[in-house]
């Protein structure tokens, strides 16, 4: 039964990511949303209490800590008030909230525009530069090793459990291998899993990225979205999308403004935000808004100013053309008088 499920998981294919071309390394390339499979038992990672008490386990635990409290890197690698788990829900374990167990298998991935392959840790660097409006830690840094180790452990522990090997520890990988990602040719399954799990198509595990959302009946409207926001979102995320601190600690994420993701982050795209919102909001009670409302509110929050795209070269129309020509976002477009991006907040960590 479970074997069949996993085969299904591993063999399922979908459209390859549609890569956008540009001159600057863009780690926030759009990943095609996945058609949501009904009644599928998604992948279940191991409970965190089973992280081993050894040096490898320490890296995994550190990765988890960074996922849920990314703010410990504020000012060093992080420029806003967000934490990874704000989008990668349930500490990066929730299906269709960009779970790390699936992302791990999707890298390294070839990028047409650089004509090269980006590995898993490089993809996380993209998150720091754009989603966290910060400055990425270096490859080989304890942070990237830890976050890679955590993602790998989620995946491998879940696979072993799925095949009845609950007692088998997750095989250790060295730091370099950890950062490569599970789609690398050198990635091997532990002995007993060989031959049982097919690795072909591994980059398309169901639950990966975000679930595909129907197109709206009417074009997404920031104006209608403003009403949806006021009715359903503002109570938690704030009238100005500023999120919420409790005792000085960021708890509820900022959706726009200086403390949110910048114009280069994947979430600035209306389609990406719409599917995330539809599937996951409000927290713990996903699929509450209808399809049109999800698109409209995504259009509203993504047509407010946020930190500048770090690839901005001083010319808004040139930057728009180079990096936002084909995305479903508002960068460079005029919504309330001025083109978005013309009054953006500073990109990156501010002193």
């Amino acid at each position: 039964m479970r074997f069949a499920k996993l085969r299904q998981v591993m063999l399922l294919c979908s459209v390859l990511p549609n890569l956008v071309l540009g001159a600057y390394p863009d780690m926030q390339d759009e990943i095609a949303a996945q058609p949501k499979a009904a009644d599928l038992h998604y992948f279940t990672p191991r409970d965190l209490s089973r992280i081993p008490n050894d040096a490898f386990g320490d890296k995994v635990r550190k990765g988890y800590e960074l996922f849920v409290d990314t703010q410990q890197l504020k000012g060093r690698y992080v420029g806003n008030t967000l934490n990874c788990t704000n989008c990668h829900l349930d500490a990066g374990t929730k299906a269709y909230a960009a779970p790390m167990w699936a992302a791990y298998l999707a890298y390294p991935a070839f990028r047409k525009k650089d004509n090269r392959v980006s590995n898993f840790a490089e993809r996380i660097q993209g998150c720091f530069n754009y989603s966290m409006n910060g400055k990425a830690p270096a490859i080989g840094s304890p942070e990237l090793v830890a976050m890679s180790a955590y993602s790998y452990w989620l995946l491998m522990g879940g696979l072993l459990d799925m095949y009845g090997m609950r007692d088998k520890p997750v095989p250790e990988l060295n730091d370099a291998r950890l950062q490569l990602g599970g789609r690398d040719d050198s990635f091997v399954l532990p002995g007993p899993l060989t031959g049982q799990v097919k690795l072909a198509g591994r980059e398309h595990m169901p639950g990966r990225a975000f679930a595909a959302l129907q197109e709206p009946t009417q074009p997404a409207s920031p104006l209608r979205g403003k009403q949806v926001y006021a009715q359903h979102c503002a109570v938690c995320h704030g009238e100005q999308g500023q999120g919420r601190l409790m005792a000085g600690v960021p708890v509820i994420p900022a959706l726009w403004g200086p403390e949110s993701y910048n114009w280069g982050a994947g979430m600035h795209r209306v389609n990406t935000a719409a599917t995330f919102i539809f599937e996951n909001m409000p927290l713990g009670k996903g699929v509450q808004l209808d399809v049109q409302q999800a698109w409209d509110v995504a259009a509203f929050m993504n047509s407010r100013e946020r930190p500048q795209d770090p690839r901005f070269d001083g010319d808004l129309s040139r930057t728009t053309k180079a990096f936002h020509g084909s995305d479903q976002g508002y960068y460079g477009k005029t919504v309330d008088g001025a083109p978005l991006g013309s009054q953006a907040f500073p990109a990156g960590i501010q002193p």
Partner: protein, 198 residues
């Protein structure tokens, strides 16, 4: 003379920042019988100290509208339909109490079922971490109540009330939805854990 000294001590305590020495407004006096002098709670009523102003204000409204109901509180709340009466009450109790020692997500490995639910949730049951809305050490804020140090019996009863649909008024019924995924053991564990946070 004694009174002066007492006041001075209170003032110093206020400056130190643990207890706000704000004088109790007249409007809050009827609350004291059940909620205690600084809103610390009694056998007859839960703790109000440290709940956000916004939350206290909204709850009185829910007792007025029937979204919440309680044999004592429902009639009491009817006297506070006027925002000018309700506002000072909410502000006063919000400023009482002391902030618990903060604990962040991922700061330590959970030592109990309740701590695990609070800081990690249970993805297998679609229960998000309580932290996501109630914050570090359950301090709460805005529409989300502080849970730290609240009476365990009260917390347990509220979670059951959410489950049964006897309590409402939260944003989009988020709490009502999540409460239904908790079992009796979770509720007992959470109530006792949260009440012990100092």
């Amino acid at each position: 003379m004694r009174l002066v000294r007492k006041a001075a001590v209170l003032l110093i305590v206020g400056v130190v920042g643990t207890v706000c020495a704000q004088e109790m407004p007249r409007e809050a006096q009827p609350c004291v019988a059940c909620h205690g002098e600084h809103g610390m709670g009694t056998a007859k009523g839960p703790m109000l100290a440290g709940l956000s102003k916004e939350y206290i204000y909204a709850q009185i409204g829910h007792f007025i509208s029937g979204g919440r109901s309680n044999i004592q509180m429902t009639p009491m709340a009817q006297g506070y339909t006027d925002p000018q009466l309700r506002e000072p009450v909410a502000a006063y109790f919000a400023a009482q109490g002391k902030q618990p020692q903060l604990q962040l997500r991922g700061q330590r490995q959970p030592k109990s079922l309740a701590e695990q639910l609070y800081y990690q949730g249970d993805p297998t049951r679609d229960i998000p971490a309580c932290f996501s809305c109630h914050g570090p050490a359950a301090v709460g804020g805005g529409p989300f109540p502080r849970l730290a140090g609240q009476q365990a019996d009260y917390l347990g009863a509220q979670l059951v009330a959410w489950q049964k649909g006897e309590r409402s008024g939260d944003p989009d019924n988020m709490m009502g939805t999540i409460a239904k995924r908790l079992n009796g053991k979770d509720i007992q564990a959470l109530a006792s854990y949260l009440s012990s946070i100092r």
